[in-house]
Each structure stands twice: as C-alpha cells, then as structure tokens.
Symmetry: C2
Subunit: 191 residues, 2 copies
C-alpha cells in the first residue's frame, strides 16, 4: 500500500515551511523541507552508484534527453535527479510531510499524496520575511517577486506544470487570511 | 460592520453549487444562486432563461467591445451592472453564501468575504454532469471544456483576474479528491 504523504508547495514568506513542520509534529510523522532534501541530495552525490540510481528516476521529456547526453547535464539537472531519488526514497520509507522541491510532481505515481499549496498576499509575506530572515539590501517586496519568479520558473521547467494553479493541488490555502494555525488544523483534519 | 459572506467560484460539474447550498444550510444563512437569477430577472425585465444563458457568456472580442461600447451598453453589460447591484444589496442585507457571478470580485470592498474556489478533475466532473444534468449530444468532456472556457473568459473580461489562480482565493478545494461533504465541513469550520 502506498504511504500517505503531504506535499507542500508555497510562496516565499507564506509560512508554508512552518505549516509543514507543525502539521508533521501534530501527526507524529517526519517533515522534510527543501533545505534538508537538498543537503541529502548533495551528500548522496558523492556516491557514483547513487547518481546512477538517481538517473533512473529522471522524468521524461527534455530532461531525459539531457540524461542520455550526460555531458550536457548542468549542476541543477544533476541536483534535480538526486533530489528526485531522495524524495522517492523518503516517501517509500513511510508517511511524511515534504515541503517544496516539486515533491507533488515527483510522487505523482508512487505515493498517496495530499497536494497542498500555501500562499498569502504581498503585505503579509513582506512583514514575515523581515521577521524571519531579517532585513536585506533589497526591499522585501523585491525579494518576494524575485523568489516567486525563480520558484515558478523552476517548477515549470522540471514539471511542465503551472505553479500556483489551483487545479494542480488538492487544497490551496491563504495563510495570511486564514492564519497559520488554522491552516495546520485544516490539513490535520484532512489527513 | 461588514457582513460575513462566502463566495464560491467553481468549475462546471465540480459540485460547487451543492457545496454552497449544504454549507448555507448548516450555517443557517441563505444561499443565493437560482434565487439570485430570479431576482435579476424581475429587476431587469429580461426572461429568466436569457439571464441564465447570458451570465455564462462574456461579450465578444475586442472589436465587438469597441463597436458596441461606442454607441451603447450591450445586454451583457446591462446584466453585469444589475448583478453587481443585486449582489451588493444581498451582501448588505446579511451573512450569506453566493455561488458564481464573480461575487468575490464584486464584494471585494463591501463585505468580509471568504473567497472559495471549487474544482475537480475531468473524470469526476464528467461523471457528475451526466448524473445531474443527463446526457447531451456533446460528450461530457466537450461540454466541460466549453463551459470552463466561457466561465474563464467571462470572469477575465469583467474582473481582469485569472479564474482558477490560487492567489485569487482564500481557499481552493478539489471536491473530487476530498469529497463534497468534506469540503462543506472545512468551510463550515473556517466560517
């Protein structure tokens, strides 16, 4: 039987990672966030066997074309393939929450996923990133626009799906309007 | 103080209207859908059938907009204005659920709205429209594509907002995956 996995995509500053952590804590299951997955992927990248295995998980289309010409892979492509394998392995191990890294797409056939998207308006997110990450030279609004654009492009490139399109998720929540704890509660009940 | 209103946008066949009615019943507040159309008909003098049809159709392309607007409002524009007034009046009267008719956009400044979008995959909706509305000459899939396209165009024309974009709503729910009763329960608790 497939494991139940919650995948969370989120706008930068929307509190998606916090929601994922709190939800996992309440459900008593592990939460893997983007940073952790990237770290696992990079660590595993030292093993040639792992890279070869990871290659088997490459999605079709453009990337698989790249995979056939190994010399043409960019660092991002290699990392994507490693992440692909890490995420598939984690979901096979047991129920969990996975934040970011296109996990919804990666697990579309291998796990019983609840696909979540968390977003919030610019004002809420601008306030939040300053509180959580501190001030930067760029304005919070500019940082948000920049990050959103990168995430959407990344998602589009590797999954060919539109990021933030309601139809791609089972539930989308505005954490600014509903509140972070309320989002956690809704997802806990759904799970 | 602003009244609490739940606005429900929905894909054709997703059960959005059923969810709205059940939710209103559980909350003990009115749900405006067919009633709203009736009221529009009375105020406008148009036939009820005309309004039901016209509500789904945005005026034609750019050229037709120019040629019509240069001289007078189209029937669709008059209908839009009437809907605008009726919906604003209903929301002023008291808490309620309003299904469709771009109510989320119309009430953006005049009510405390919970903006909901209900969607489901093609298979779920195709099965449902045959059950609810019966067979037609067109295939269910073609009817869905046609209706979705018209609704999206209508919404875009009058609100300049993208229909089905998660960021435009406080909560988006996949009624096919989550089930209609579960959607009602989530919204009831949020309200």
């Amino acid at each position: 039987m497939k494991n139940r996995v919650v995948t969370i995509s989120r706008e930068f500053g929307s509190g998606g990672r916090t929601i994922g952590r709190k939800l996992a804590e309440e459900l008593g299951i592990p939460c893997y966030d983007a940073e952790l997955i990237q770290q696992l992927a990079q660590e595993s990248g030292f093993s040639e066997d792992y890279i070869r295995d990871a290659g088997e998980y490459a999605p079709g289309g453009y990337l698989s074309l790249l995979s056939n010409r190994a010399f043409a892979l960019t660092n991002e492509d290699v990392l994507w393939e490693l992440q692909y394998k890490v995420i598939t392995d984690l979901a096979e191990k047991g129920p969990c929450v996975i934040v970011g890294r296109c996990a919804d797409y990666i697990l579309r056939d291998t796990a019983d996923c609840l696909k979540v998207f968390i977003h919030a308006d610019m004002g809420f997110r601008a306030k939040r990133i300053v509180e959580v990450y501190g001030e930067r030279e760029q304005s919070p609004e500019q940082r948000l626009k920049d990050k959103d654009k990168r995430r959407a492009a990344y998602h589009r490139f590797y999954t060919n799906m539109k990021w933030g399109h309601a139809q791609n998720y089972h539930i989308c929540l505005d954490s600014g309007k509903l509140g972070i704890d309320s989002c956690v509660e809704i997802l806990r009940q759904l799970y």
